[in-house]
């Protein structure tokens, strides 16, 4: 069971599209996937369920917020298994499965509430509270039966708050979808800097605590996937090429698969609960887009070995 966080500081770079399509494509190949939506915008959730379905079946008792609430309100552990749902549309006609832990629009407040749990009157209190809060998701995922899933994909919010840090600490790999433009390029370096800082502080506290319930974390950046590429004559336009090259020059690992921009194809897919990679299509443009998503899955599986 490998946990992968899909993250970028910058919003609107295609994190959710990558997560939903990767989850569906892996499931199509027989893999068991758990997708977790940690973004209060709940875009991943609404890629698999309509808002009405979510409201009726998940809002009250089956979201990741319930799990954090149990910790914040009662200092108790809610079983993550009790929150897992199995979206019907995406799971029709696939060999594996895509399970989901939904997000909640009010998850936005959880960060502030978790922050209050970080305080302490002594150095030992502070350290123990830090470890308890930041290893929350990690310990939750470790409680799942090992054979339940091949992959856990976590769609992170576009920030570096406590919930996002929870996901990084819980991860084996970090995948960074990026639009090749100036601000997204900056975001990657910032993310790397913050990740290094988080991992080194977390691991230092683990060592200082000497408590067997906390272990070191060492998530590996599995690379940058370029998204929203404008294609001209079979390759990215030169305005985007220069930012792609800049990221390559900076030494960050990049994926050879690039995902093109296609508003017609990607715009409405979430509304019908079926990611683009699973749609039955005809026409060259559609096939090109699907092939890219299939290549993305191939590359993902290669890198994760």
């Amino acid at each position: 069971m490998k946990t992968i966080s899909i993250i970028n500081y910058k919003g609107g770079v295609g994190k959710t599209t990558i997560t939903a399509n990767l989850a569906a494509s892996l499931a199509l190949r027989g893999k068991k996937v758990l997708a977790i939506d940690l973004d209060p915008q709940a875009s991943l959730t609404f890629s698999f369920y309509s808002v009405e379905e979510w409201s009726k079946n998940c809002e009250k008792s089956k979201t990741i917020k319930n799990w954090y609430d149990a910790f914040i309100d009662k200092d108790s552990d809610l079983d993550l298994l009790s929150l897992i749902v199995n979206p019907e549309k995406v799971n029709a006609n696939i060999e594996g499965k895509v399970d989901l832990i939904c997000s909640h629009l009010a998850l936005i407040n959880v960060d502030l509430e978790l922050a209050t749990r970080l305080s302490g009157s002594t150095e030992r209190d502070l350290r123990n509270n830090y470890l308890r809060v930041y290893s929350r998701l990690r310990q939750g995922l470790q409680s799942l039966p090992t054979e339940s899933y091949d992959f856990i994909l976590v769609d992170c919010p576009p920030n570096f708050n406590i919930v996002t840090k929870n996901s990084i600490v819980a991860s084996d790999y970090i995948l960074v979808p990026t639009k090749p433009d100036y601000l997204s390029t900056l975001g990657i370096e910032q993310l790397q800097k913050h990740m290094d800082e988080l991992i080194s502080t977390y691991n230092k506290y683990v060592m200082d605590a000497g408590n067997a319930s906390f272990q070191d974390t060492s998530p590996e950046i599995m690379g940058v996937v370029f998204t929203m590429i404008a294609i001209h004559n079979g390759s990215p336009i030169s305005a985007q090429k220069q930012y792609i090259q800049q990221i390559i020059n900076s030494g960050v690992s990049t994926w050879s698969t690039q995902i093109r921009e296609n508003k017609t194809i990607y715009a409405d897919a979430p509304e019908y609960g079926i990611p683009v990679v699973l749609k039955e299509v005809s026409g060259k443009t559609y096939e090109d887009v699907q092939n890219e998503l299939k290549n993305l899955t191939d590359e993902f599986l290669e890198k994760i070995k």
């Binding site: 390029t185 900056l186 370096e189 910032q190 800097k193 913050h194 800082e197 030169s238 305005a239 090429k241 220069q242 792609i244 090259q245 800049q246 020059n249 900076s250």
Partner: protein, 137 residues
């Protein structure tokens, strides 16, 4: 172009011409035996020496070694291999810098410098941010 820039170009052309003259020619010029004349260049048949792949590689390595914008600016201004705008454009494309037809020489230089040096400087700036104090390291 300003009068100041015109004057700089004129003096540069004169200085170049004087450099190419022998002592004997210089004396003849001063004594009036030699005269200056204007020759109009036929732009259509002008032969542009296209920069070689090897030169592009060497220029790219050199500029990547530079540490600040001024150094890079001097380098691009002074290296004879990129005196022609066409060759500067070739260098930009070789580096994957996005240039458009309407870009003037000055702008292309800026874009190359931003691409090579600017990216290193901003990366160093991000790495040096002290996340604990909120101030620089």
């Amino acid at each position: 172009m300003t009068a100041h820039q015109d004057m700089k170009r004129l003096l540069k052309a004169l200085s170049k011409m004087l450099d190419q003259m022998t002592e004997e020619e210089y004396e003849q010029f001063l004594s009036g035996e030699l005269k200056l004349s204007f020759v109009r260049e036929d732009k259509k048949n002008r032969h542009i020496k296209e920069i070689s792949e090897e030169d592009l590689k060497s220029l790219s390595c050199k500029i990547n070694e530079l540490k600040d914008r001024e150094e890079a600016q001097d380098f691009l201004k002074n290296d004879p291999r990129v005196h022609l705008k066409d060759n500067l454009v070739r260098l930009a494309k070789f580096l994957h810098v996005h240039v458009v037809k309407s870009d003037k020489r000055e702008n292309i230089e800026k874009k190359i410098i931003q691409f090579v040096i600017g990216s290193k400087l901003r990366s160093a700036a991000i790495q040096n941010v002290n996340l604990k104090s909120g101030g620089g390291a």
